[in-house]
């Protein structure tokens, strides 16, 4: 550095001029607004696009056999449990085995080309590969029997299957969605004999009916972690 006190003469004239155009003074005004907008945008996109309400709901894959729930469950009014035999006993509702289909289709439409995979399964034992529609994470343990036993209608989670040509996911099946009901089960309950009835409508106040059913069926929907995770 220079000796103390000494000073070059040209210190006013810096080699580089200080140049900032006038408009940069606007930046401080715009910046906060911009940040706010972007932030909101990000939050919204997660809240909307990344939520199961968007990722899960509406999933309706094409199946190897164009089975129509509308036809069977809706028009013919076949009870869910005729095919989903395990729903009252075990964790799984169970996709029907081919022999169940053949109970009828050995007589009805026994030669329909659409049913070829079913006949193969029955005769040759080559399984039908249905595409899984409703899925929850591996580490969440769900049991159909329990819910059916407490009077939770199929329709609550699966929607109006009886009106679907191809089954589609109606509910997000997310943890918070489960919790919504587990925190307030009443309004989702119905008399046990109406569980598989897609058309059932409560006469009178559902809240009140719910309260009664909670009482009657000893409904105690766990909100504990170990209720579903282990």
């Amino acid at each position: 550095m220079d000796a103390p006190g000494q000073r070059p003469d040209d210190r006013d004239e810096s080699p580089v001029p200080y140049v900032f155009p006038a408009w940069v003074n606007q930046i401080p005004r715009i910046l906060p607004v911009a940040t706010a907008l972007v932030g909101a945008g990000v939050i919204f996109s997660f809240w909307f696009w990344a939520s199961p309400k968007n990722t899960e709901v509406g999933y309706a894959p094409v199946q190897p056999v164009p089975y129509s729930h509308k036809l069977h469950a809706g028009d013919y009014g076949i009870d869910c449990r005729y095919c989903h035999t395990a729903v009252e006993k075990g964790p799984k509702a169970a996709v029907p085995s081919a022999d169940i289909c053949m109970n009828c289709h050995s007589v009805v439409k026994y030669d329909s080309p659409l049913l070829q995979p079913v006949r193969d399964a029955f005769n040759k034992g080559t399984p039908i590969e249905w595409v899984k529609v409703h899925k929850i994470a591996d580490f969440a343990y769900f049991t159909h029997a329990q819910h059916v036993a407490k009077g939770v209608g199929c329709v609550e989670c699966h929607g109006r299957v009886d009106q679907m040509e191809t089954v589609r996911v109606e509910q997000p099946l997310s943890m918070s969605w489960c919790l919504d009901c587990h925190r307030n089960p009443g309004p989702r309950l119905r008399p046990k004999d109406q569980v598989t009835n897609m058309n059932w409508q409560p006469e009178g106040d559902r809240e009140q009916l719910g309260a009664e059913l909670v009482e009657k069926y000893h409904v105690n929907a766990p909100q504990d972690c170990s209720g579903c995770h282990r």
Binding site: D12, E13, P17, Y18, F20, P21, V24, I27
Partner: protein
């Protein structure tokens, strides 16, 4: 509108600038300013600058931080998902003190810094003084007075004369680009 102008004058010592500023204030000027490498005691009195209002801004922020923090914890752990943890109550306020405190400080700090910038109208990158080579030493060892053309008493010639009279050196008239 007329182009924004200002006149700037240079002084050599803290004593000079304090005296000069006093005279300018006495001459009835209001829309003027002093520029110094460090804050100079007494100059604020000479210029009759009011006390800063920053404290109120900070207080507001602090309250938001503290109450907001506590409310957040109360709602998340105490209301929305009540979990039984270590046998403690759902709203175990003893355990919520540290985070409430931290958030109070955090928001106060934001309030302080951004409040200060707001009150000073900073950032302001483009300013005629900054572009004026003769002004460079304001951050080194010189002291300046600048009078804005917005000042009702502003008059290119009279003001210049006054500044020179009260000891201003290298007086210059600047125009906003």
């Amino acid at each position: 509108m007329a182009k924004h102008k200002l006149i700037v004058a240079e002084f050599d010592t803290p004593a000079e600038i304090v005296a000069a500023a006093g005279k300018l204030q006495g001459a009835g000027y209001r829309d003027y300013d002093a520029h110094t490498p460090f804050p100079i005691h007494g100059l604020d009195k000479a210029m009759k600058i009011k006390d800063s209002r920053l404290g109120w801004i900070v207080l507001a922020h602090g309250l938001v931080g503290g109450l907001g923090g506590l409310t957040m914890q109360w709602w998340m752990n105490g209301v929305d998902y009540q979990m039984l943890i270590g046998g403690k109550p759902y709203f175990a306020f003893q355990a919520f003190v540290p985070i409430t405190f931290a958030l109070t400080i955090l928001l106060s700090a934001f309030g302080t810094v951004f409040g200060m910038l707001f009150l000073n109208g900073l950032p302001r990158w483009s300013h005629p003084l900054l572009a004026h080579p003769g002004f460079r030493r304001h951050s080194d060892d010189k002291f300046y007075l600048s009078v804005e053309s917005d000042d009702p008493k502003f008059d290119a010639t009279k003001t210049r004369a006054l500044l020179e009279e009260i000891g201003g050196k290298r007086v210059a008239l600047l125009e906003a680009p």
